[in-house]
């Protein structure tokens, strides 16, 4: 997941009769579930929307290293430290596949990073929340990766081939992370009273942010229709959110933790859990840059990039010298 409120690059769905022959052929392929590949013709708006979505997803993986990295040096056992390091390494790897997928659409990684650093591209709102106690690391794996999986399993069927294939690989790793996260939560929830308190605190703080990862409710989500028609988006925000809640509530109950929302109740008629409406103004605040960690996260990323300039320049200069020497020797 990690791509929220992606603004579709045009306004509204284009009716079939207004499409050119090329556009109609393109839409027919999508309707027949034939993947669009990099060299295929595609409408500019499709390309731009995908670049935005894949870019935001990639940025989320990269920025997502920070809240988890916050606990690597304080992980309580060697094994937990290994698991966390491996997870963060996987996230960076996901960032790499996704930037590569965006490159197949003609947008370079450097350009996407520049747009992020200038505040012109976003990353998932969830990474603007802090990780305050060790149980947050379990909760991030369980809830955040869990929510991401719900979205990404759907995105395996997305119409753009490279993105769809990246999702298949990423989902495998995310499932592993979610299981490890839940395992860490079990240790906390079934541990000492202090550990249980940490687990409850983490759940209470991360619950609503995790359900807001799916974006605003469908009635408020203005950009979805064209993305759905192009199968860039496969299920609606509300469908995905409900699926996540339905699968997660029994997991909370198994841990013996208090439900983080008094409105969470099984509704036999709907066959789903009811839940309280999140405070959407909070989501919009976070997206506008006013989340608890937005400034710190962006400062950290920009600093890493700026501090690393001499390294990138040095290695590039060396590569050029080496190539010149080889050329001279031939």
């Amino acid at each position: 997941m990690y791509a929220q409120m992606i603004k579709t690059a045009n306004s509204g769905v284009k009716p079939r009769e207004e499409m050119s022959d090329q556009e109609r052929a393109f839409q027919d392929k999508i309707d027949a579930d034939i993947k669009i590949e990099p060299r295929d013709w595609m409408p500019d708006d499709y390309r731009r929307t995908l670049i935005r979505q894949i870019g935001q997803h990639a940025h989320s993986e990269v920025v997502g290293q920070l809240p988890e990295g916050n606990w690597i040096t304080r992980a309580p056992t060697l094994e937990r430290k290994m698991i966390l390091l491996a997870k963060v390494q996987d996230e960076a790897g996901h960032g790499l596949y996704l930037y590569s997928a965006a490159e197949t659409l003609g947008e370079s990684r450097d350009e996407l990073v520049r747009l992020l650093h200038e505040g012109r591209m976003k990353y998932s709102s969830i990474f603007n929340y802090p990780t305050l106690n060790w149980a947050d690391i379990g909760a991030v794996g369980w809830l955040v990766d869990g929510a991401a999986i719900v979205n990404q399993v759907a995105l395996q069927r997305t119409s753009y081939g490279p993105y769809s294939r990246a999702m298949v690989r990423i989902c495998k790793e995310e499932s592993f992370h979610a299981r490890q996260g839940y395992h860490a939560m079990m240790k906390m929830a079934f541990g000492s009273p202090a550990q249980k308190k940490m687990a409850q605190d983490a759940l209470n703080r991360l619950w609503f942010p995790s359900i807001m990862m799916f974006g605003p409710s469908d009635s408020e989500s203005t950009h979805s229709e064209q993305s759905m028609a192009w199968k860039i988006k496969v299920k609606s925000n509300d469908e995905l959110r409900q699926q996540y809640i339905d699968q997660t509530v029994p997991q909370i109950e198994y841990l013996g933790l208090d439900l983080p929302d008094p409105g969470l109740k099984w509704n036999a008629e709907r066959g789903h859990y009811d839940f309280s409406e999140p405070d959407w103004s909070e989501l919009f605040d976070v997206i506008k840059g006013n989340g608890p960690c937005n400034t710190d996260r962006m400062n950290a990323r920009v600093k890493a990039w700026d501090d690393g300039q001499w390294v990138r320049d040095g290695l590039m200069a060396h590569a050029r010298k080496k190539a010149a020497r080889q050329h001279a020797a031939e």
């Binding site: 290293q65 990295g69 690597i72 309580p76 960076a92 790499l96 890493a304 990039w305 001499w310 390294v311």
Partner: protein, 253 residues
Amino acid sequence: MTDQNHLLQFLLRQGDNALILSHRVSEWCGHSPILEEDIALANTALDLIGQTQMWLGYAAEVQAEGKSADDLAFLRDAWDFRNILLVELPNGDFGRTLLRQFLFDAHQSVLMGRLIKSSDDTVAAIAAKASKEVAYHVERSADTVVGLGDGTAESHERMQAALDYLWPYVGEMFTSDDTDTAMAIAGIAPEPSTLRDEFHALVTRVLTDATLTIPGGRFSHKGGRTGEMHTEHLGHLLATMQWLQRAYPGCEW
């Protein structure tokens, strides 16, 4: 000191080097110059933690006090740590971190080559596993040192400054005490001084390619591998690393 105690000291030296360096490398997570380096640094830290588990796991077994590798990592104080000073130094810039990594990897690559022939089967087995990782660690750190040393004027200058800062911490890797002598007599590990020539040949070749100048002084800081005197930095590192285990003792995580 009994032979078992010497073996324990030797194992702690190996395990603590891996543990403390892993901690330092992991501090880079999410802050490196480019995404590929975030991945490579996490991978290096991960390999080192794996090695820590093996060395400290065996140390705990030899110690025979019912402790685990985790107990040794998280519940000893600074004076009980046996890592060389080099690995506990703060990261500095990316160049210094990679140059330290290279100096450590170069030493490890020579040492592991000897330890795979150790008379102690467990030591030999750990070295056999670690040597595969060390082989690609040293290849990567050497390439990066050459790339940055022979890069731009700025990268060259930063790498030379890093080498000038780190070089006085290299000599400690080749100092000997009773534990080293006991290990050598038992055929468990070589005398550290016998690794020096091979190390110097490797390091000189790479640093020459990197257009860097090895500082002339023969002075060497020491006190880490004996535990006599660590730097001020180790206490802060341990305060971070051990905090949860210390604040909430006896928990399972």
